[in-house]
């Protein structure tokens, strides 16, 4: 590991994971933390509870489809949803740079309040710190959240033939930030940032067929698939042709030579469902998310490769994000 922090230590890819293992796990690692799931799941009384935290440093703080406040609520609510939990209470902390416009702060707070009401969660604790001008970039927000895990959801090992579903078009949040940073924005490229609670509620009892869920944020779809393959000691085959992608997003990545499979979503869920249940579950999700699609299957492979079958029938192997594509997307 290099002697100093580089931007790529925060991209959610390989370097982030090495940093977490070599510095944080070393000093405060424990069984729950080291599962490195979207949220920690543990028992409180007779209920299973999910708990998570996330900080938001996105730049620019206002973007097409959302702002840092909406992102801060959705990010934590979605980590709870990916753990199969109904989100209940959030806390939030603001680190604000001296000189930040209070009007803008209120706009951000309003969008947080709106999303909380929409989801049915409450922010019940908070903290505010202000640092001198030049010591932060506008503002940073942290949110933590707690929720109760749905009884119908029982995470378990993946097996050969299990089906992989994504709930909508990929890479839209990361691409929106990329486009804004480099002056390529157009009205068709818009962040997918939104709460995922509805999908979990809509699945209801059908969650019993879902074995594992995750939200493909930093590092994108490729990174989360590789992480899950690694965790479950299984391989995967992903059909590139089945991946839902907005044509404007695909075009921008073609122009810039970037790979959308490494770009974040902030309103999508990846579900691994029992073999034979994929079509039924996908159809159910399509009732509220029209672009949901079965994108591949889990296969036995002791090398744990995630293979992408290209539209012409070729194969390549997906790896987790190796280098920062663009910093501070969330």
């Amino acid at each position: 590991m290099p002697a100093r922090i580089q931007l790529s230590h925060g991209d959610g890819g390989k370097k982030t994971s090495a940093l977490i293992k070599e510095v944080f796990y070393k000093h405060f690692g424990n069984e729950l933390l080291e599962k490195s799931r979207d949220a920690a799941i543990f028992a409180l009384g007779d209920r299973k509870v999910a708990f998570t935290t996330d900080s938001f440093v996105v730049q620019p703080i206002f973007f097409s489809g959302g702002d840092i406040g909406k992102l801060a609520v959705c990010g934590t609510v979605n980590d709870l949803a990916a753990a199969g939990a109904e989100p209940l209470y959030l806390s939030t902390s603001f680190i604000i740079e001296e000189g930040f416009e209070i009007g803008q702060l209120e706009k951000i707070a309003r969008s947080m309040g709106d999303i909380c009401r929409q989801v049915g969660v409450s922010i019940v604790a908070g903290d505010t710190k202000v640092v001198e001008k030049g010591f932060a970039d506008g503002l940073y927000i942290n949110t933590s959240g707690i929720g109760v895990v749905m009884e119908s959801y029982i995470p378990r090992d993946l097996l050969d033939g299990d089906e992989i579903i994504i709930t909508g078009t990929i890479a839209e949040h990361g691409t929106t930030i990329l486009a804004l940073r480099h002056g390529f924005q157009n009205e068709h490229i818009c962040s997918d940032c939104k709460p995922l609670k509805k999908i979990i509620e809509h699945l209801g009892e059908a969650l019993c067929h879902v074995k594992c869920m995750t939200d493909p944020t930093r590092g994108g779809l490729a990174t989360v698939l590789c992480e899950i393959a690694e965790f479950h000691n299984m391989g995967m085959i992903i059909e590139e042709e089945k991946l839902p992608i907005h044509p404007h997003v695909q075009t921008l990545h073609q122009i810039l030579g970037t790979n959308p499979m490494f770009f974040a979503s902030e309103g999508r869920l990846v579900l691994f469902v029992e073999k034979g249940q994929g079509t039924k579950i996908c159809r159910l999700i399509c009732e509220i998310e029209k672009d949901a699609a079965i994108i591949g299957t889990v296969i036995s492979d002791d090398r744990k490769f995630v293979r992408l079958r290209t539209p012409i029938g070729g194969q390549r192997i997906l790896t987790i994000l190796q280098n920062e594509m663009i910093p501070r997307i969330c």
Binding site: E241, G257, R303, I312, G313, G314
Partner: protein
């Protein structure tokens, strides 16, 4: 994520599968290397056809001395460096620009050289230096910028150039170094600027089959198909232009005249390949005041051949990435030892992504 012409691609693959001989085909251009990996093209070819990567990734052939020079220029706290993304990860002999950035040096990654104008205007107190790296494809863009800067009388914008030409390196590889390949896939983008002429020598002078190709799956398969036909019938050896939708015989005359207006040829060291006479584009006398070397009064040092990896042999097609002892071990995309691993267009990086980490280790064992 779809691909156009899937049926046509499959027909082309069926015809290529009939080839029962052996052929080593080099794709010169880094974008071809990238696309071959992206489409999984190797997995669809008969065993006898091996694709090897050439020297057409500009980042890969940029000398460590160039990076060292950029870092030296940054010793001046008034300097702001602007670069394309891949370049900042290239290891110099002591450090990389990425490491310098983490130390607080002023380095920005941009997608368009025009950002340099904005930076120069917004920071009149700073000397903005743009790292101008590329081939005939990017040279006209930098030429246009230099001319515009001259016209606008901008005096705080400079270019540290590592611009290279294709034809001299082809001569060097096929002639001086006696490169052994059975066919060359030629870079369609370069040809769109230069025209077909510079590539004609491949078949006419050196008798090697050549095909100028575009970058979609069908373009690449069509190129491979053309080459194996030429390999099977020596009488048919030619430089085929399969990218006529972009490549005119005389190329892009406006772009060529921009290059001629601003740049002059010079000798330059290609990383891993060595000195290639007259293969660089350097800023000519008329526009010298925009040359960062002139402004800061320095020269690019000759840092010699890097000895930790076999990038040079890989660029010449003498070995494949799996044949390098560093590949996948001390040289990975996150910690590149050589330039072929740095650029997403580099042969090693493309191989690494295509094969996955563990298989890389198995290959290099």
């Amino acid at each position: 994520m779809g691909v156009e012409n899937v049926d046509a691609v499959h027909k082309m693959i069926q015809r290529i599968m009939l080839f029962s001989g052996n052929a080593r085909i080099m794709e010169i251009c880094g974008t071809h290397t990238h696309q071959i990996a992206r489409y999984g093209i190797r997995s669809l070819l008969p065993k006898g056809i091996r694709l090897v990567s050439g020297p057409g990734c500009p980042v890969c052939v940029t000398e460590a001395g160039y990076i060292d020079t950029a870092i030296t220029i940054l010793d001046d706290p008034d300097v702001k460096i602007m670069s394309f993304g891949d370049l900042i990860r290239v290891p110099g002999s002591r450090s990389s620009l990425q490491e310098q950035k983490a130390m607080g040096k002023d380095i920005s990654v941009v997608y368009s050289p025009e950002d340099a104008f904005r930076a120069a205007a917004e920071h009149p107190d700073k000397q903005t230096v743009f790292l101008a790296v590329g081939f005939e494809t990017t040279a006209p863009l930098f030429a246009a910028l230099v001319k515009q800067a001259d016209k606008m009388n901008i005096n705080n914008l400079f270019f540290l150039t590592a611009l290279k030409q294709m034809e001299p390196v082809l001569h060097h590889m096929l002639g001086t170094l006696e490169l052994k390949v059975d066919g060359l896939i030629c870079p369609g983008h370069v040809a769109a600027i230069t025209g077909q002429n510079p590539f004609q020598i491949i078949s006419d002078k050196y008798g090697v089959p050549a095909a100028i190709c575009g970058f979609e799956a069908l373009d690449i398969f069509a190129g491979i198909h053309e080459l194996i036909q030429q390999i099977s019938d020596k009488e048919a050896v030619r430089t085929a232009n399969l990218y006529k939708r972009c490549v005119r015989e005389d190329g892009n005359t406006m772009a060529k005249s921009l290059i001629d207006d601003v740049f002059a040829p010079a000798d330059v060291v290609w990383r891993g390949i060595g000195m290639v006479p007259d293969s660089a584009y350097v800023i000519n006398k008329r526009y010298k005041r925009f040359d960062a070397l002139e402004r800061f009064g320095i020269r690019i040092p000759d840092s010699g051949r890097p000895n930790t990896c076999l990038c040079g042999d890989i660029l010449l097609g003498k070995t494949e990435p799996g044949g390098c002892p560093a590949f996948g071990r001390t040289c990975t995309p996150e910690n590149p030892a050589g330039p072929c691993m740095v650029s997403s267009e580099g042969a090693c990086s493309a191989w690494y992504k295509e094969m996955g980490e563990e298989r890389c280790l198995q290959e290099s064992n």
